[in-house]
């Protein structure tokens, strides 16, 4: 080994603290960068990535089982433009009821379930991804699609009371199909036992086409399939573009958030790694002086120290790639949930780019610091730490003298002055605290805003929900089109009769019912859904962006998407056409409605000409304080039974898995960034202590107790923590204030000020203290270690 090689090896071994600090910094930087980079990559067209990953179905076609057979449908795989196809799978629509249990409250309802009989999750098209459990192996087992609305868990059972013998299906897992080809899957041989007497199961074929990029292309593809199948056999077809559109709306909302976190992670990584490596090389200045005195050229010194930094950094980077990947997998799974897609895997190029980039960063920073030290005159380098002089030391000494006069315990005064001795290093630590505080503030703000959004989504929460014995099929559900006909359902009851029952029921404080109808509005493409309210809807939890809720017939409120598309504002009149009848409303408010994010109008049912308003099929009831919700629901249910209506207590009509996912993602990412900030402080304090070992030995020899030594070290980060908190807080607020509107804008929503104003004064004070907390926690371990260091050895330190 060359002399220089021995110097490098000895340097890495002997200066273990610095080596460990550099390795640790490289580890956290790589971990954070892999996560940040993966988030950025995952945020780029997540639906397309997931769709490609699963070889999603461009067209999910449903056929009437009575008009066609399996062989005829198999032949449609050769229709014009088809590049791949799977099926046919037998399909039917079930009306399951959950078995009350740990995950499912009594009386809970489930929407109709479009079930496909499929032997394997994969098959060349729509390779369904199991997210939990296993694929059904025998009749009686079912795997449920992640998008299907149920609180049931793996192991729970679903009852099928509408079928002879009321069979039961055991949920053996959950799976996600990006193409949303079914709500659930069973084994092919299970279909027979699940078919209602007198009905014939349908068929499902899944196709991929050479050209599927536009609605026109998909229409042509659909026509080709219809032509290849027996006449009239095709009962419905679902284009992948509909699923993509829905996913893209979610993506658009989350994209700015993911990008903000990803960039924060990358910035912190570079900062922490750079600061620690520069510090580690900086502490070696005297050793560099010794090497030069022995005859090393500046170029040799630079090579030696770059290598000395790269060895532990390379180890940290390798470990960081592993840890980063381990952490990224669950985070991407959550991201996938937020996007409503399957989790995209980690892009290998991210690992390679991050590892290479971090190594390059370390090399550059080490090179810059070593060049600076290498250029010092040998005598100056040798004198580092032994003599005072220079402007920096004079300023530091003056501040130390000032601190000595503060009415504080002396160890605190000693610690407070320390950052001024190494202002560049303190600035690096400050930046880490600023980023950490900003990230925490941003995350808390996002949590507050998401709670606000959740509140807005829960506008239909009520003490008691009244609905037909089965709720209507949700818009856009897979079972809505093309499935075999579901069993007959009761229709909504006469509103007057329901109103009478509600009014007569003791404990009713307020109620409203709602029905919806699709109408056309001039200038607005496609249909607009008008929701018509009966009763007092003023207490409904709709949140207004501007204006007010309607107060009577002829007034309406609408979300931003409609106002933008119809090019109308508050006070403008809009005429919609309902079954050929024109109805005019005046827009009095912009409502925040993240549900459909499409064209909607909300108005009083009395706005419609008499007898033409849509019948309300859902009723929301507020009870008098002190009323027993369950007892009320039971009594009302009995009263409504003749109307084929039922009452459910404490029903929360809406739930948002994506918001829960976003909140969980926020918590994970924030924790990571705060830990990285803390590690930034930790690493810097470790280097600082290493440099001050001798001084600490002196003060301990003078009688400084271990507790006082801890006090000195903690005090040395107090100022940085306080200032970092004071800077990080407004930065986090700014980031939140910019990101939320950007999220709304991407999704076609406007957030009112109340959605942004989620920080109370106590919370702001707590967040401002967050910087201190990060700094103190980061410094605690090195402080304890310094207190435990043996005084004799500390006094011997150079």
């Amino acid at each position: 080994m060359s002399a220089l090689g021995r110097v490098v090896r000895a340097g890495v071994r002997r200066r273990r603290t610095q080596s460990v600090a550099v390795g640790l910094a490289a580890l956290v930087a790589t971990t954070c960068s892999v996560l940040g980079g993966s988030l950025l990559v995952a945020s780029r067209a997540p639906f397309d990535q997931a769709f490609d990953g699963q070889r999603g179905a461009h067209l999910t076609a449903r056929f009437d089982g009575a008009r066609t057979g399996a062989d005829q449908l198999a032949a449609t795989a050769h229709a014009a433009g088809v590049t791949a196809a799977v099926g046919p799978f037998r399909t039917l629509t079930l009306d399951p009821e959950p078995t009350p249990g740990e995950h499912t409250p009594a009386g809970a309802q489930l929407p109709p379930m479009a079930v496909a009989g499929r032997a394997e999750p994969a098959g060349g098209v729509d390779n369904v991804q199991l997210t939990e459990g296993s694929w059904p192996k025998r009749p009686g087992e079912v795997v449920v699609a992640s998008g299907y609305e149920t609180s049931a868990a793996t192991g729970d059972t679903l009852r099928l009371p509408g079928l002879p013998g009321a069979p039961v299906l055991k949920i053996v897992g959950f799976a996600r199909s990006v193409s949303r080809t079914a709500d659930a899957w069973v084994t092919p041989d299970a279909i027979g036992s699940l078919t209602a007497p007198g009905s014939t199961p349908g068929y499902e074929m899944l196709y991929r086409f050479a050209d599927a990029g536009s609605t026109a292309a998909m229409d042509a593809d659909r026509a080709a399939v219809a032509a290849a199948a027996p006449a009239g056999a095709l009962t419905g077809a679902q284009s992948w573009l509909a699923a993509k559109e829905g996913s893209d709306r979610n993506t658009a909302m989350f994209l700015p958030f993911m990008v903000a976190f990803g960039l924060l992670g990358l910035a912190m990584s570079v900062l922490v790694a750079g600061n620690v490596v520069a510090g580690a090389v900086g502490t070696a200045t005297r050793r560099i002086g010794v090497l030069k005195a022995l005859g090393c050229t500046p170029a040799q010194v630079v090579r030696a120290y770059v290598a000395q930094a790269l060895i532990p950094a390379a180890a940290g980077i390798l470990l960081g790639v592993v840890v980063g990947n381990l952490l990224t997998v669950p985070v991407l799974a959550t991201t996938g949930h937020a996007y409503g897609t399957t989790a995209s895997g980690i892009a290998p190029w991210v690992d390679v780019a991050v590892a290479g980039g971090t190594l390059l960063t370390v090399a550059l920073v080490a090179w810059a610091a070593a060049v600076r030290a290498g250029r010092l005159r040998t005598v100056e380098a040798l004198a580092v730490g032994r003599t005072s002089g220079g402007t920096r030391q004079v300023v530091a000494a003056r501040i130390a003298a000032l601190a000595a006069r503060l009415p504080l315990p002396r160890p605190i005064g000693l610690g407070l002055a320390q950052p001024f001795a190494r202002p560049a290093r303190a600035a690096g630590m400050l930046a880490a605290v600023v980023f950490g505080t900003a990230a925490a503030t941003f995350a808390v703000g996002m949590g507050g805003t998401m709670s606000w959004v959740q509140g807005a989504k829960n506008h239909d929460a009520s003490d008691v929900l009244v609905h037909p014995q089965r709720p209507d099929l949700p818009h856009g559900a897979p079972g809505a089109a093309g499935a075999a006909a579901p069993p007959a359902r009761p229709v909504a009851a006469d509103p007057a009769a329901v109103t009478a029952a509600l009014t007569a029921q003791p404990g009713t404080a307020a109620y409203y019912g709602l029905g919806a109808v699709d109408v056309t509005v001039p200038g607005v493409a496609g249909n607009t859904t008008v929701t018509a309210f009966v009763g007092n809807s003023g207490w409904a939890g709709y949140r207004m962006v501007s204006g007010r809720w309607y107060q009577g017939p002829g007034e309406a409120v609408a979300p931003a998407t409609f106002l933008t598309e119809a090019r109308v504002g508050l006070g403008d009149r809009v005429t919609f056409t309902d079954h050929g009848r024109p109805v005019t409303v005046r827009i009095v408010g912009e409502v925040f409605d993240p549900h459909m994010q499409t064209n909607e109008l909300f108005t009083d049912a009395a706005t419609f000409p008499a007898g033409t308003a849509p019948s309300p099929d859902l009723w929301f009831v507020k009870l008098d304080p002190g009323t027993d919700h369950a007892a009320y629901a039971t009594a009302l249910g009995a009263a409504l039974a003749p109307l084929h209506m039922t009452a459910e207590a404490d029903a929360r009509h809406s739930s948002s898995g994506s918001i829960a996912a976003l909140n969980s993602l926020t918590a994970t990412l924030t924790l990571l960034l705060v830990v990285v900030a803390g590690l930034g402080v930790f690493n810097t304090v470790v280097l600082e202590i290493r440099e001050r070992t001798r001084d600490m030995g002196v003060t301990k020899a003078l009688g400084m107790t271990p507790a006082q030594t801890v006090g000195v070290v903690l005090a040395s980060v107090l100022l940085v923590g306080a200032v970092g908190g004071a800077i990080g807080l407004p930065l986090g607020l700014l980031l939140h204030g910019r990101t939320v509107p950007a999220m709304g804008h991407s999704a076609g929503l406007n957030f009112p000020d109340s959605a942004l104003d989620v920080f109370g004064t106590p919370l702001l004070l707590l967040l401002a203290l967050g910087g201190l907390l990060i700094a103190l926690l980061g410094a605690l371990l090195p402080a304890v270690r310094a207190a435990r260091a043996r005084t004799v050895e500390a006094l011997r330190a150079e």
Binding site: A400, A404, G697, A701, L702, A787
Partner: protein, 228 residues
Amino acid sequence: MSDPVIELSGVGRRYEGARAALDGVDLSVRAGESVAVLGPSGSGKSTLLNLVAGLDRPSSGTVTVAGVRVDRLNETGSARYRRGTIGMVFQFFNLLDDLTVADNVVLAGELAGVPRGEARRRAAELLESLGIDRHARAHPGRLSGGERQRVAVARALMNRPALLLADEPTGALDSASGEDVKELFRELHEDGQTVLLVTHDLTLARDCATRTVRMRDGRIESDTAVAA
């Protein structure tokens, strides 16, 4: 005869994988004595001083200073013992470069809980008596070696220690500064300060000590009174 300030009994110190740095050392130093410990490098002088200062613990035997069993103290107890009982002077001064001369001296008092005003008055007195009061507001880096050692002595005396420990106090000084420091130690002894100094400097031992203890290979080779 006064009570012993230092009482070492059967003290041994063995480091892992090395021969004993100290082996069965017995030593007693009475109040007012000035004892110089002499010996070649590796003879155990510094180890002996570290044990008396509570900076290290013996592997065997007992170390008692001013009635305190130093070998039984934990880290916090050792720190309190050093504040109240001993003062230390090092070969390389070990002053804190970012504090002024006065603040270096005051620091020892403040750590011992002396009120700041009182500590400042005491430091000013010491600096004046040691002839370096004109440097009170300077930083140690601007002082000569002899002056720095005087500051170190002032700091060591801040809390009126029962025992002053000195490790090669003239080892890093030029001859003029060395003479200056010798004079200082002579005066301290004459004032009744108990001193234990470790040195290679035979003239320092002869001029400032009442006893010389010679060590070799971790054992006391001789213990003789210095002729007046």
